[in-house]
């Protein structure tokens, strides 16, 4: 027995302020409303704009609690590799981990002489503790989709590709269509597909 609540899917997104986790939770929310799926999202705003750590918890299914038991993370999504590593205590062997490999250097590295760990060693370390780790460069895929800003939707596509969410590819794609501004739709849909294919094909 790993998860205490077996009837809810809990997505933990970790990253740095300004990476677009909020938009991802809004799109998942749109999918949930469309499907009449129970959802509760918890965000820590605090000092996000000032380069601090941001955490978003999305819970789908049979729960009203914005926070889960610590052992109940179904998917950990690292929008930034160091932050994924920092959230390591929340990983169990059944947690699916999805990591974007594009680093954002914290001030402790850029000006205070500390060392940013090698991306490969972060992935290797996380991989020791979960049976299911996916990594991709969301930046690379976003640029391929035509707009670096859609990195977050690359990650959403990848998240759907893990098949851990109670939504199909089509359901989430419709939610993306309903949530993003028309002029950004093309890049977002392409980003969604690129992220989805990257992970789904590896499964």
């Amino acid at each position: 027995m790993v998860h205490l609540n077996q009837n809810a899917c809990t997505i933990q997104i970790v990253g740095v302020g300004g990476q677009g986790a909020l938009t991802v939770s809004k799109i998942i929310g749109a999918a949930a409303i469309e499907k009449d799926q129970q959802i509760v999202v918890s965000e820590i705003h605090g000092m996000a704009q000032r380069g601090g750590v941001v955490q978003t918890t999305i819970r789908l299914g049979d729960t009203i609690s914005p926070l889960p038991f610590s052992s109940d993370i179904t998917v950990l999504v690292g929008f930034e590799p160091l932050e994924a590593y920092r959230a390591k205590q929340e990983i169990t062997s059944e947690t699916v981990v999805l990591v974007s490999t594009d680093p954002i250097r914290p001030i402790s590295v850029s000006s205070m002489g500390q060392t940013y760990p090698e991306i490969d060693s972060i992935l290797e370390e996380i991989g020791k503790h979960t049976d299911c780790l996916f990594s991709l460069s969301s930046k690379e895929k976003a640029l391929e989709a035509g707009d670096e800003r859609v990195k977050n939707v690359v990650m959403l596509g990848a998240l759907v590709g893990t098949e851990t969410l109670p939504f199909t590819y089509d359901e989430m794609k419709r939610a993306v269509e309903a949530s993003v501004p028309p002029k950004a739709l093309e890049a977002n849909l392409k980003a969604f597909d690129l992220g989805y294919n990257e992970v789904h094909d590896k499964k």
Partner: protein, 634 residues
């Protein structure tokens, strides 16, 4: 149309708790709303700033919470529905007005939202404002979810008008910043202008009237308690899936977000006992009969609440008074903590600890604990001043002027981040507006110069009285007013120094420089903190001046500037390091530390994605190695 203004009753939307509350205020026909921004309540004001005008509501960002409270309270005294909202420590500022308004009461519904912050996510303390309800005698409600918050706002206005008393609406961070589905209700239009019915015997609180009004309030409290006994928000919840049978009857009394964690435990962990939950939504006055009866029906009762032992102490007192033998356990017995937020793990631990103390072991399924060896580095990611932030220029110039020898009382805003190295300025901080008051006291006793920091919005909030005090009493210190033309920390709300008001209409901008001069400050100088030499010189002159001096460092918030430039479709010049000129002295990273700087080996670089083109690095580098990327270059 903004989704919160849609007149589509029954439509379901996913919104932030703060947005649910904003929608409810519109549905309830709130006519006057006023606030001073403070996280975790900030999004209510940000949203009203966008939509109040269209909703026909008057909304303002007041200079501080006390003024916001008085503005809204007066509207309710006149007879219309009013709303004032603030973070928990904001109610300290408004407390003077709050305590006495409980005596006079109101004629239109008045709801005061206090957003408490257990865990100090964005606050200087984690005070439990439920005690303000107890201290004042006003009724209080506490929601657990966005939809309950929406419904409870309507209820709060009903009981406010029923008892002609203001109602305290208490939330916590995990209520304000949780997203959930709400069902839109019907919108009641705001009130037209009303005729003020004079009643000085009630509303003018001279001692003879205040004594009478106190008696009125004391008579009201039992009636409000009767309301709590039958309130639809005070109800017993029975778990459905498990914990339905057992030889021990366990009662859990809870409120607010803790209820959610309690249900997560009860729906997933078999405690081996029969559990019932008393979920309290109206928590002042507390329902004595309801609580007593609930306790009588159980063998053991636990109070589960974040913060202080508010429910616990009341429950224990009532049971003692009524000679009810049921054992009640909570924080006072060490099973639940006072500090920090709760979560399902903490609630489960508290319940098992309490059951253990009466000899019942709970069989909690083993969860896997991963053993991390921590062999790779994990550099911290503290929040920092943004690239291009004018405060970084201010601190850099100031430290050149003081040569590190000064005491720095600081204040509440982004500039508090100056305590991080390498700026490392900020020695004393208590609350909003405190830096100038602290500076006065320090300047009388310490052997170094005193330099106080205060933001522009903080200056209007509570910074003016201590400056008056300093001038009049001849305190010798420098007040640095860091004017970035916005309330940056809470999400860029306007303040009285700007030519725009809460509704988005043009407004008279009040000049900080003229205010300081008008208060009698003899040395006032305004400089651009992106110009290091000019700023350093101003600080040197101000420090040499005997008496209270003011240096206003004025440059707009980089985030706001960037947003405006992007809207205008303008590109900014980026800066770079000339590797031939760079002597790798590290002055840039060790003394200025812009987040856009980075090193590969010993070589310095500027990340063009992060550079805001403030141009200060060019003035920082002693060898002229930093400068704008030449046209067509790189």
């Amino acid at each position: 149309m903004h989704p919160l203004l849609e007149d589509k009753p029954g439509k379901k939307i996913l919104v932030l708790g703060n947005e649910a509350i904003t929608r409810a205020a519109i549905e309830a026909g709130v006519t006057v709303a006023a606030t001073y921004p403070g996280t975790p309540s900030s999004e209510i004001g940000n949203t009203l700033h966008k939509i109040a005008k269209e909703a026909g509501m008057y909304f303002e960002f007041s200079t501080n919470e006390k003024v916001a409270f008085e503005t809204a309270a007066a509207a309710a005294v006149a007879g219309v529905r009013a709303f004032s909202f603030m973070k928990h420590v904001g109610l300290n500022v408004a407390a003077d007005a709050f305590m006495t308004l409980a005596y006079t009461g109101v004629r239109g519904g008045f709801v005061i939202l206090t957003a408490d912050d257990p865990g100090c996510h964005s606050s200087q303390n984690e005070q439990d404002n439920r005690y303000f309800a107890k201290m004042s005698g006003v009724p209080m409600v506490e929601p657990s979810s966005p939809e309950e918050a929406r419904k409870m706002m309507h209820y709060a206005y009903e009981i406010s008008e029923k008892f002609e008393e203001p109602v305290l609406f208490r939330t916590t961070t995990r209520m304000n910043h949780v997203r959930g589905v709400i069902e839109l209700g019907e919108i009641r239009p705001p009130s037209e202008r009303v005729h003020f019915e004079k009643d000085p015997g009630r509303f003018v609180t001279i001692p003879s009237n205040a004594r009478k009004r106190h008696l009125v309030l004391l008579d009201l409290i039992p009636r409000m308690r009767d309301e709590a006994e039958v309130s639809p928000f005070n109800r017993v919840v029975v778990p459905e899936k498990m914990n339905t049978t057992g030889d021990i009857r366990l009662g859990l009394i809870t409120s607010g977000v803790s209820f959610n964690y309690v249900m997560e435990v009860l729906n997933n962990i078999d405690l081996g006992v029969q559990v019932r939950v008393l979920k309290l939504g109206m928590t002042a006055p507390l329902p004595e009969d309801l609580i007593s009866e609930f306790c009588l029906e159980n063998d053991l009762v636990l109070t589960i609440e974040e913060g202080e032992a508010y429910l616990e102490e009341f429950t224990k007192t009532i049971l003692k008074e009524r000679n009810i033998p049921t054992q009640v356990l909570g924080k006072r017995d060490g099973h639940f903590p006072i500090p920090n937020e709760y979560n399902p793990d903490i609630v489960l631990k508290g319940i098992t600890s309490a059951l253990d103390s009466i000899g019942r072991k709970v069989d909690v399924p083993e969860t896997e604990k991963v053993d991390w060896d921590g062999s790779i580095p994990e550099p911290p990611r503290p929040p920092v001043l943004c690239p291009g932030c004018p405060h970084r220029g201010t601190y850099f110039a100031l430290k050149r002027a003081t040569k590190g020898k000064a005491v720095y009382p600081t204040d509440i805003g982004c500039y508090t981040l100056g305590i991080m190295p390498p700026q490392s300025v900020g020695d004393v901080l208590i609350c909003m507006g405190s830096s100038a008051g602290s500076a006065g006291g320090l300047s009388r006793v310490v052997d170094e110069p005193v330099i106080a920091f205060m933001g522009d919005s903080t200056f209007f909030h509570t910074g003016i009285p201590p400056l008056v005090n300093a001038v009049h009493n001849g305190h010798d210190f420098v007040l640095n007013i860091m004017d970035n033309s916005t309330t940056a920390m809470t999400g860029h709300q306007p303040h009285p120094g700007l030519p725009i008001d809460g509704l988005g209409d043009p407004a008279i901008a009040i000049s900080i420089e003229k205010v300081c001069k008008g208060l009698g400050v003899q040395f006032v100088k305004t400089v651009n903190p992106l110009n290091i030499k000019e700023t350093q010189k101003a600080f040197e002159e101000a420090m040499a001046f005997k008496g209270t001096s003011v240096v206003i460092t004025k440059s707009p918030c980089a985030l706001l500037l960037d947003r405006n430039l992007r809207k205008a479709g303008k590109k900014r010049v980026k800066y770079t390091v000339d590797q031939e000129k760079c002597r790798k002295c590290d002055v840039c990273t060790k003394t200025f530390a812009c987040p856009a700087f980075y090193k590969i080996g010993d070589d310095h670089y500027i990340d063009p994605d992060q550079c805001f083109s403030c141009g200060v690095c060019e003035q920082v580098c002693p060898f002229g190695a930093m400068g704008p990327i030449p046209e067509g270059g790189e």
